[in-house]
């Protein structure tokens, strides 16, 4: 069952994120993909995540299709104008990529080529509009396409944000532009997540809550200080501090969080971002009370 059908059936969906390699060696990427293949509904491939040069998300997504996995191709407006975005989407559809996650993209200044010119011809909402337009058989200029793509469109949302009304407002725009599902920024505090869900109530969409397994108290502190939209509560940092095996404890914390989300039926799925520790995704999923996806 694909991601779209899984979410539409009302079942709990699992997605995991993988970054394409910096270089041409996809060995580890493929290995990690094979290990999660039967455990997840789809795998996100990031699009020059954090504005860092790597192989592209289109290339990596095509490799996942070859490997028999269902990719969610992330696409940002940072590096491409409306011409390139349309071309990329058409290529993706032709390569068998159905799921597309539209993002505005991190600013080049946070990446490894800070001198680069940011494009931002289109934001996440515009990319969704564009994909929706292509699905009608026309390009943005109204020209007829030879072969019409079909996409299952997604977007992102930051649940821990002040003022939350502003995030919800943009979320509504994304839904109106064609987003059918949301993968959220990582959440650690279930009560804050519930507050967000309350603010987003009535929006007709599917929500996969973001989970980043922590690897150390330092990582948690770093994210609290530097990553907008991430808040790791002190009691979680304390648990990591006291533990012997911090990576294992981080996975345990993540598993407990996912199990609690499932138990309370808070949302439609979970999106795991292992950020460089993709080999831990199957370990984490084994620790959760989830039925195998496949």
């Amino acid at each position: 069952m694909g991601l779209a059908q899984k979410l539409e059936s009302g079942a709990f969906a699992v997605t995991a994120e993988m970054a394409p390699p910096k270089g041409t060696d996809f060995g580890r990427f493929k290995q990690c993909a094979r290990e999660v293949k039967d455990m997840v509904d789809a795998v996100n491939v990031t699009d020059f995540q954090s504005a860092v040069v790597r192989a592209s998300s289109l290339g990596a997504a095509a490799i996942l299709v070859e490997e028999g996995l269902e990719p969610v191709m992330q696409i940002t407006g940072r590096d491409r104008n409306r011409i390139a975005i349309q071309g990329e989407l058409l290529s993706a559809a032709a390569l068998g990529i159905k799921n597309v996650l539209a993002l505005t993209g991190d600013h080049p200044s946070v990446g490894d080529h800070p001198q680069a010119k940011g494009v931002f011809d289109m934001d996440s909402v515009n990319i969704l509009q564009t994909a929706t337009t292509l699905m009608s058989g026309k390009d943005l200029a109204g020209n007829t396409l030879t072969g019409t793509p079909q996409f299952f469109l997604g977007a992102s949302v930051t649940p821990v944000y002040d003022p939350i009304e502003l995030q919800v407002l943009k979320m509504k725009k994304k839904v109106n532009a064609g987003a059918r599902f949301f993968q959220t920024q990582a959440v650690y505090d279930i009560e804050l997540f519930k507050k967000f869900l309350e603010a987003a109530r009535g929006i007709d969409t599917k929500i996969l809550v973001g989970v980043i397994p922590l690897k150390s108290p330092g990582m948690a502190n770093y994210m609290n200080k530097n990553v907008p939209g991430i808040y790791v509560p002190e009691e979680i940092i304390e648990r990591l501090r006291k533990s012997q095996d911090k990576v294992k404890e981080g996975l345990k914390i993540a598993a407990e969080f996912i199990n609690e989300i499932v138990r309370q039926k808070l949302c439609d799925g979970v999106h795991i971002m292992a950020i460089g520790a993709e080999e831990n995704v199957p370990v984490l999923l084994e620790m959760c009370d989830l039925k195998r996806a496949a």
Partner: protein
């Protein structure tokens, strides 16, 4: 106002390599306010150049440097000083320097870097306020320009990169979208933010642009 900053003096000397006699121009408007091309700065530049063995044949504060007819007629009055000069050093903005270069018959070099269209917050403090996009968005954004004040020029609300109302790109900057939201909320106009803004028409900003009044 067009905000300028002086180029490093070493860059200026590189331009002027082999040029012994220099005529300096400034500007009464923006460059004077930015303290990059008023009479005071011209005199300081003159002194610096003379220390480097250059001869300054004359100087003028153009009123303003970007007015072509005005610049042409003003420079005519300095014919002698200009004819004896090897080069002009222009202490105006990039526009002012091009105007001088168009009307002068000797090479013109810029003394300033042109930074942005912005406002004078207080003396010596300038902030960027307008990108000259050709389609003003201020009518629905509570008078705060998202094209300029959002690092990504977003038109459909904030990205996920703001923290405590500050921008991830430069935490000294406010998130333009939080400012817009707060102001529209105050005036009970939040519904203005619900409309999806399509991709902006950048053909309106295809350079070089021209404006002719009456057409």
């Amino acid at each position: 106002m067009v905000i300028t900053q002086p180029k490093p003096f070493s860059d200026i000397l590189k331009f002027l390599e082999g040029k012994k006699k220099i005529f300096i121009t400034g500007c009464t408007l923006c460059a004077t306010s930015c303290m990059t091309g008023g009479e005071k700065e011209i005199l300081a530049m003159k002194e610096q150049l003379e220390k480097e063995g250059k001869e300054v044949t004359g100087y003028v504060v153009l009123d303003p440097s970007c007015h072509k007819l005005q610049t042409r007629s003003t420079l005519k009055k300095y014919k002698q000083a200009l004819e004896s000069a090897d080069a002009i050093l222009c202490m105006a903005c990039g526009d002012g320097a091009q105007t001088v270069a168009e009307v002068a018959s000797i090479p013109v070099y810029p003394a300033n870097d042109t930074m942005f269209i912005g406002e004078v917050e207080r003396i010596g403090h300038f902030s960027e306020a307008c990108k000259a996009c050709g389609q003003c968005e201020l009518g629905w954004t509570a008078g705060i320009c998202p094209i300029t004040r959002c690092a990504k020029s977003l038109l459909n609300g904030p990205c996920g990169g703001s923290k405590d109302g500050k921008c991830e790109v430069n935490p000294e900057n406010d998130c333009a979208w939080v400012l817009i939201y707060n102001k529209l909320k105050e005036s009970n106009e939040l519904e203005r933010l619900l409309e999806i803004k399509g991709p902006k028409d950048y053909s309106k900003a295809a350079n070089p642009r021209r404006v002719t009044v009456g057409k």
